[in-house]
Amino acid sequence: MFELIVNHFLGNVPVWIFPFMAGAGFATFIIAGIAEHIEPVRIYALIARPISIIVMVVGVFLYGGAGVIAVQQAALQEAQNKVKMAEQAAADATKQLADNLASQEHLVKGRGYGVGQMIKQDRAVINADCKRINDQAWADYNRAVKNAGSVPVK
């Protein structure tokens, strides 16, 4: 709660107010110190002195807070810029990879299609020596495709 109030205060009040508060507090403290020796205003001086100390301390505290916040805001801005650049670089790299992948996939399919066409052209020659593959070969091939083999027990 205290932090919230201080942050709200620091964010909504001009920074120059805080050194002014501290300076005014310090000046009042000195003047009140002198005024203590002047009888007609002694009572006011006694009241003003502790108040001036509090005003000075609060002013210094808030001025310090404002300085820290300014430094943090600069660091935050720098970090945000860095993140923005990194996100852009990541998006660019992803797009480049996607393009490259699509192109490679196209090439792979094209080469596969080329081999398919060669097999079609050579069908007669390929099948000349082997009219029909044997059932066991067919079944074993499909097992290999489905990765469904098991170690034979001897």
Binding site: V57, V68, T94, V108
Partner: protein, 89 residues
Amino acid sequence: MKKLIVILCLLLSACAHNTAPVIPNWPTAPADLQQTAAELTPLEPDQRNLSDLLDNANNNYTQYYILKEKYEGWQNWYNTQQKIWQGLE
């Protein structure tokens, strides 16, 4: 007076523990890399020629090469993103 100076110095460090976190968005991988891998195709019961077997093997090999590209794509994507991410630290 010395105590006052020390106290004032301490006060000047007010709120120094406040830090605002900056969390970058994790990038999305290319859509191609997120597709489910296709199954290899077995021979149909009526495909008994050697040329059918070769044709089927060619299709499956093509499928393998596509998956290989995707696999390498994942590695490439991860390494690139890791380098970018590490640059932020």
